[in-house]
């Protein structure tokens, strides 16, 4: 499909921009305290622990996530990256017997406070899933779904167009907005899901391995998109692809599986959290170095 081809100039431009950004030595605002962005913080976690039926999945997570940044969570399978991500918009509430302990602040407010409504949280903190999950409706209705349920029914056409442009999908679908979303390619479906998320104008977008089911060209488009989107949103992404973390993120957190003495229980632990550049070139922890250099995991 001609529309699916990436425009070479545009792609190179954004890639170069990304590379340039990544090559800037540690940015001054991060230098003071690597674990705490001096910019505005979106999330502040102190000793966060997630338990399923009383068994820890991740433990002792303390990290801050900055505003208008891309933060990547990397680590081997089962280290609790997705679990941690799903804490941030209270999607774990949907799993029976899931429990979150410790302090998790969102713009200084306790995200798990008794007066906090998880539905309101998810309006502000959107999520894009591993597998594209468009609704079995038209492209238009997929995007309009969020604004409609939130009662923002004015100027819906403009909202839909803006969201689709924001997800770099408008030119490919503008002539077939009434077609079923299932007719789109996998990469287009995932960008549709991003557009759907943008349409409700969240503050944060969480992405759970958004490219793991996509081909390299679609992946490239979504990575470019992330770099554009962080101007407006804060993005937290879980990825298995270390190159991807290196390409798109400003900061990277490396998590690892930890075992207890009897090796009965395993849980995820934050090993290192720093500016992406540092994690990939000069990590402080030996385990991080082994992982990012491909020796383990």
């Amino acid at each position: 499909m001609a529309q699916d081809e990436i425009k070479p100039e545009a792609a190179r431009e954004t890639r170069e921009a990304a590379a340039e950004r990544a090559s800037i030595a540690v940015r001054p605002e991060f230098r003071s305290d690597p674990n705490s962005p001096s910019k505005e913080k979106v999330f502040e976690m102190k000793g966060v622990e997630v338990l399923y039926s009383g068994v820890s999945a991740v433990k002792g997570i303390s990290m801050d996530i900055g505003h208008n940044e891309v933060t990547a969570l990397i680590g081997p399978s089962g280290c609790g990256k997705s679990t941690l991500l799903r804490c941030l918009n209270r999607m774990n509430d949907l799993i029976p017997n899931a429990e979150v302990q410790g302090e998790l602040l969102y713009h200084g407010e306790d995200l798990y406070g008794s007066n906090v409504d998880p539905v309101q949280v998810r309006k502000l903190i959107g999520m894009v899933f591993q597998k594209p999950n468009p609704f079995p409706k038209s492209i238009y209705d997929n995007i309009a779904f969020g604004p409609r349920i939130l009662g923002r029914k004015d100027a819906l056409d403009e909202t839909v167009e803006k969201a689709l442009r924001g997800a770099a999908l408008w030119d490919e679908v503008k002539d077939r907005l009434k077609d079923n979303a299932f007719g789109l390619s996998g990469g287009q479906q995932q960008r549709l899901c991003i557009a759907r998320c943008i349409a409700v104008e969240p503050d944060v977008i969480l992405m759970d391995e958004p490219c793991s089911a996509l081909d390299p060209i679609s992946t490239g488009k979504i990575e470019d998109l992330m770099i554009e989107l962080k101007e407006q949103f804060s993005i937290v992404i879980v990825t298995h692809n270390m190159q991807q973390a290196a390409r798109v993120s400003d900061r990277t957190a490396f998590l690892m599986v930890e075992l207890d003495a009897e090796e009965h229980n395993r849980w995820g632990r934050l090993v290192e959290y720093d500016v992406t550049e540092k994690i990939f070139t000069n990590p402080a922890d030996k385990r991080t170095e082994d992982y990012v250099s491909g020796k383990v995991g």
Binding site: N89, M91, L94, P96, N97, V119, Q120, R122, K123, L124, G126, M127, F129, K131, N133, P134, F135, P136, F145, G146, I149, L150, C193, R196, C197, V200
Partner: protein, 313 residues
């Protein structure tokens, strides 16, 4: 190749021999296996034929013996004991239609509601929810006559005390097919993938908004199929209706709440078939043709609906 010149004929011989052996092995299926295969396939075919034979016998019997009575009178005229050539099924057909309407009115909201609760809200790890689930499966297997007794004791008399009216019959039939509808609706709801629910919830939709705008629309074809199949079962039920007041001989058009009695197709067919005269027998078979046509049409519609709107995820 030059070097192989002397051994070439021998090579050729060896290749020919190997080829012959291979061919023989490929062709020679042991005779015993062939016979076993054929016998087994034949037995399976016989199983299908037995199943089909019943249907074919029923349809041909009905067509041969009933087709002579097929006429507009059959649908337009009330039954008569004196003039079998003029007698028809009008009150029975109207009764059945009203019974079905009542069943649908009751069974759709209650059945879908129960299914939604079990699938979307109930915590399956709690013992009482599992108990409810098991009992719904059991209810679907309870004989229909038991429902008739239940209808008589609790709907016609007892707490509801509706009397022998058509609405009471409707309610009894609805209770009878309710487990079927719940089971079908649950399957349809379960077939909607969780990723759709999560996608909706992640946009800030409430659970009810998610159910109303995503889960239910996606499950409707499956639910509709289940409802149609359940209703076609209700149309054919006779035993419970006899207990809750479907009188066998009604010559006027029934109303939902009229206390003068009502009838239904299978009840009327039964009434005709037990009479010794040939004319009434013919009339009964004509009634069977009408009912079979209606049931086949309903089942075909259900299958069409399922194939047409089934969502592939």
């Amino acid at each position: 190749m030059e070097a192989g010149g002397a051994s070439a004929p021998r090579n050729r011989l060896a290749v020919a021999g190997a080829r012959a052996t291979t061919e023989a092995m490929l062709r020679d299926q042991p005779r015993r296996d062939v016979i076993r295969n054929t016998v087994f396939a034949g037995l399976l075919l016989l199983a299908i034929l037995i199943a089909l034979a019943g249907l074919v016998a029923l349809v041909t019997q009905a067509l041969v013996r009933g087709s002579s009575a097929l006429s507009p009178d059959l649908i337009n005229n009330p039954p008569s004991t004196a003039f079998p050539d003029k007698a028809g099924y009008r009150p029975a057909i109207l009764g059945s239609l009203q019974l079905i309407a009542g069943v649908i009115l009751f069974v759709v909201p209650v059945g879908v509601g129960a299914a939604l609760y079990l699938e979307e809200y109930a915590d399956g790890s709690r013992w009482w929810n599992r108990l409810v689930e098991i009992n719904i499966q059991n209810l679907a297997a309870v004989p229909s006559i038991i429902y008739g007794i239940l209808g008589l004791a609790f709907i016609v008399r007892g707490p509801l005390d509706l009397g022998f009216i058509l609405a009471a019959g409707s309610l009894t039939l609805a209770l009878l097919v309710l487990p079927m509808v719940i089971i079908a609706a649950r399957e349809a709801i379960r077939a909607v993938p969780d990723s759709i629910r999560q996608g909706s919830l992640a946009l800030g939709a409430t659970q009810w908004q998610t159910i109303r705008t995503q889960v239910l629309p996606a499950a409707i074809p499956g639910i509709a199929t289940g409802v149609i199949l359940a209703v076609s079962r209700a149309v054919g039920e006779t035993a419970p209706l006899l207990l809750v007041g479907a009188t066998v001989f009604v010559t006027f058009d029934p109303t939902p709440f009229g206390s003068d009695g009502y009838s239904a197709m299978p009840v009327q067919i039964f009434n005709y078939i037990v009479r010794p005269q040939d004319e009434f027998q013919t009339l009964a078979f004509a009634g069977i043709i009408v009912m079979l046509a209606v049931l086949l049409a309903m089942n075909s519609f259900a299958i069409w609906l399922r194939n047409r709107y089934e969502q592939r995820w």
